[in-house]
Amino acid sequence: MRRRASNVIVFSIAIVLSLVGIALIYSASHRVFGFELAFKQASWFLTGLSLALVINWTVASGFYRYRWLLYFFGVALLVLTLFFGVDARGGQRWLSLWRFNLQTSEVMKLFLLLTLAGISEKIEAQQLSRFRGIFYILAVAAVPVVLIFLQPNLGTVLVFLAIVCGWFFISGWWQEGIALVVLGTGGAIGGSLVLAPFEGNTERIVQAVVELPAQIGLVFWFTLGVLLLVTVVIPYFKRRNVNFAGYICLLLTGIIIGTMLIPSLAPYQRERLESFFNPFAVSREGGYSLIQSQIAIGSGGWFGQGYMSGTQSQLGFIPELWTDFIFSVGVEEFGALFAIFIVLCYLLVIYGVFSAAALADEWWIFYFFSGIGIVWIAHLIIGIGMAIGLTPISGLPLPFVSYGGSFLIVNWVMVGLFVKLNRRRSFL
């Protein structure tokens, strides 16, 4: 795709998605809030759009030059959120600024991308060793991850982990990327073991497996440590490829971490997870919304039930309709066509961003553009996946569509930066 084409596509689809979002938010929320939420979303959209246009008249690379300043500013905001944040939905995630509640972790996403892009450019230009590179990237990403974990906001922590994992791939570090994916898969399996509804004997066996680490104690950890050392750590540092046994070990480790992590989750997060495995058992907040969401999607048919007349979404049965479940609202009211339309939109946007990245002149622009794509992919997979019952865990907003000012504005700033930087020699 040519640069100009990718600019036109990303910019125009972002506008279309934002408008669709406002329409869906109005449909989902007007019964309780009237115009209020749709109006707010519209004003945030206009704010974001104007910021994107302003960026077009300025020197966008300024953002890159002051990336460290922005990074520490973002970290400071996260720290402030921990102390002065607004309590809502089981976490302190918002910083109250006059009449706007800023979700600081969303802003941090942009700042982290810029910082990571800078590090990767240095790595590429100076041919730094892979170990040093990984160390830098993990160190820079760890600070916000820990701060967001403390809020707690599990969904966003996952997005940040996905950014790191994706970063390994775009840096060409396949082995590390795959190792992270294996570890994550293990974690998911471990979580399923704890939460899945087993019956009778299976339950006891699973229980025993889950309690294994605690019962065997130190010996267990020692054995696992040795296994990891032999199969993963030593081959890795000797620059040999990690073999099959290594990946199995990583998978095991992931499973153990997963089983141990679940009990430490906040009750509402646990409930959401539990409801993923057995939606009909958890009747209210967790499983309830999942069933509702799936029924909404299931009852959409080809053309949906019509705007403002989706039965599930109009009756206010799905909690957090306009944030985490906006996809369900869309599918119920506009049917499978909506799903196909949305899928095509995101495919095109991300294709546009990635192809521009591949055409970039400078290293940091390649990394920055790819990073934008990774953030959006992560949101799609975790967010939509939950709404349709493919992935568990807390919902995440759909880029441009879901209700929420901070994420929408940050996304538009990213679009602004993208268009401006991509256009360095051509024009929109």
């Binding site: 209210r284 009852s299 599930q312 049965f317 909690p319 499978a336 495919l347 591949a358």
Partner: protein, 589 residues
């Protein structure tokens, strides 16, 4: 900013492609999953004609009962029958309406008016058993109408416990927004006021859900088995600390037209055994939903919706004197100090009178409280200054809520220089100091908070008055045990020879069994308008019993009743007599 060398460019696409493939794969999965969901449910859809629809309907959970300490039911769901129109149906014609009116013995005009409104679902609320049977026998003649059973709250004791129990009603828009995330929807019934509101989550249970098949116009066809319905979870029963028998007896001590409140609180547990207020409302009026009745409640001049024990604040008047009394003792003021009372106190050119115009003569601190001598407390105030009083106010957490589990409690306020400048923009004067020490002026407190403060002064514990359960509290060294003992002795004398004589003695001068220790408070009112008579004073009696080892705090407040010693004190005595009768002061109650 480093340029990408051309030799490396081929790497870029290679690095990005797995991510893009992942996205592609995922989005395909999404579409696949969506079509799968549509097929799974689609089996149901397909089998039905194209116009039929699946909707869900909530199965209301039954709300828990509210019972008193002995298990007597104060509020419970009962089925009521309502005549409703099936959605989308026309209802009977003119002749049918007349026939229906005759059958049910209701006004035909009213009936046809309601049937004429196509939006209206409820045609008649509250059918009697007879009406229900008669309709069911002939229901075939009235297509489109049917009888539905609804659970409705019934409050057997009406006004006696109304302001404590509260009532239920349809959730309001604001509450819906505030309680987002609890799975509430429009039309849900929630608690309003009283413990119905404060323990709503506990009482309400969780509504179930069933999926029903309807025609396109919304007519019910059948209930689906798949997806399987979610059974409702019944709410929990709620047991109050309140004693219904005592509550009724307390009501009997009130004249029907008097206004006031009585709080009986067990100490140190804080369990509220009686919380009676008058005027009160009958919660049944709200759930019956007769608009005229409800409107009347809001319009009535004496505001029956205001719980005078919790939502109203009054000047404590002389009942406040126990606070400077304690402040004096805690600040090592010598209680033997004597001041003379000539019946007035001179401050500059102004004269501050004592309630006893001929004066009390020479008194010490103890006698001053027993006889409620204003002049002694004026002198004491000059010694202590406002700082010491404000300090003890802070220690007692005077300016705050008692924390009772009824929504809307108003916090008490203590008249201090800070309050005057911040709230009223007024300067602090010596006159204000004198007003404050005798509980007039800007100090305001609710009966329930009085109970907490007195409980603290006699037990040294921060007691939270509760209608449900109790909040643990620990004994502190404020006030000191010695000073607590002193206060009890002095308050005991108030009822044996002081202003609270009638709280301890029957009309024929016989002492009652319970050793009551208390303090009176008469709130003098100022005549605002020459044409109107000065309103009579409000009366307080704050007390504990037995004085030797306090078990209960009893607060009596009477609005516009006159001198407290003649009104609130004897009423407190009557309450104590009823408590004796119910066995409150005999072994283990």
């Amino acid at each position: 900013m480093e340029l990408i060398p051309e030799k490396d460019r081929f790497k870029l696409t290679r690095r990005l492609s797995p991510l893009f493939l992942l996205l592609l794969l995922f989005l395909l999965l999404v579409l696949g999953r969506m079509f799968y969901l549509q097929l799974e449910l689609g089996q149901e859809f397909e089998r039905l004609s194209a116009v039929n629809r699946i909707r869900h309907e909530s199965i209301p959970a039954s709300r828990g009962k509210i019972v008193d300490r002995a298990g007597r039911v104060l509020a419970a769901d009962q089925p009521v029958f309502q005549l409703v129109r099936e959605p989308g149906k026309e209802g009977p014609d003119m002749v049918g309406v007349q026939r229906l009116a005759d059958l049910l013995e209701v006004d035909a005009n009213k009936l046809s008016g309601r049937l004429a409104d196509p939006e209206r679902r409820f045609i008649l609320r509250d059918l009697s058993d007879q009406q229900k049977i008669r309709f069911e026998e002939k229901s075939a003649q009235f297509p489109g109408l049917k009888i539905n059973v609804f659970p409705r709250r019934v409050y057997d004791y009406g006004e006696v416990v109304g302001p404590v129990v509260g009532y239920t009603g349809e959730i309001g828009r604001q509450e819906l927004v505030r309680r987002r995330g609890e799975g509430l929807a429009q039309g849900d019934i929630v608690g309003k006021r009283g413990v119905e509101s404060s323990y709503d989550r506990y009482l309400r249970g969780e509504d179930g859900l069933r999926w029903i098949e309807t025609t396109a116009t919304g007519e019910y066809i059948r209930t689906l088995d798949s997806p399987s319905p979610i059974a409702p979870q019944a709410g929990n029963d709620l047991q109050l600390n309140l004693d219904l028998e005592l509550q009724k007896e307390v009501k009997a001590t009130f004249d029907s037209d008097s206004e006031g409140a009585v709080v009986v609180m067990e100490i140190p547990s804080g369990r509220v055994r009686s919380l009676f207020v008058q005027p009160a409302y009958d919660p049944n009026k709200f759930v019956r939903g007769n608009r005229e009745e409800i409107r009347q409640l809001f319009l009535e001049e004496d505001d029956p919706l205001v719980n005078r024990a919790v939502h109203s604040r009054y000047p404590p008047a002389s009942s406040f004197k126990i606070i400077p009394y304690m402040a004096a003792l805690e600040n090592n003021f010598d209680p033997a100090t004597i001041f003379g009372c000539p019946g007035y106190y001179e401050l500059g050119r102004e004269e501050f009178g004592c309630w006893r115009e001929e004066g009390h003569g020479r008194l010490n601190l103890h006698r001053a409280l027993v006889h409620s001598c204003n002049v002694y407390f004026y002198n004491l105030a000059k010694e202590l200054q406002i700082d010491k009083i404000a300090e003890i106010g802070d220690d007692l957490n005077y300016s705050g809520r008692a924390g009772i589990d009824i929504p809307g409690e108003r916090p008490a306020q203590l008249s201090t220089p800070t309050l005057l400048s911040e709230r009223y923009g007024l300067p602090w004067t010596d006159g204000e100091l004198l007003n404050t020490v005798i509980g007039q002026g800007y100090t305001l407190i609710s009966p329930i908070k009085q109970a907490q403060i007195l409980g603290r002064l006699v037990t040294g514990r921060h007691i939270v008055p509760r209608l449900v359960g109790e909040v643990e509290n620990e004994e502190t060294d404020f006030p000191s045990a010695e000073n607590r003992e002193r206060l009890l002795t002095t308050m005991g004398e108030v009822t044996s020879s002081g202003t609270g004589y009638w709280a301890r003695h029957t009309e024929d001068y016989q002492p009652i069994d319970t050793e009551v220790a208390g303090k009176t408070g008469t709130v003098q009112k100022v005549r605002l308008d020459d044409d109107v008579d000065t309103p009579s004073a409000d009366a307080w009696f704050v007390s504990v019993a037995p004085a030797s080892s306090p078990e209960y705090v009893v607060i009596v407040f009477l609005s516009e009743a006159g001198s407290a010693g003649q009104t609130a004190a004897p009423q407190a005595r009557d309450v104590y007599l009823k408590m004796e009768k119910l066995g409150y002061f005999t072994e283990e109650n």
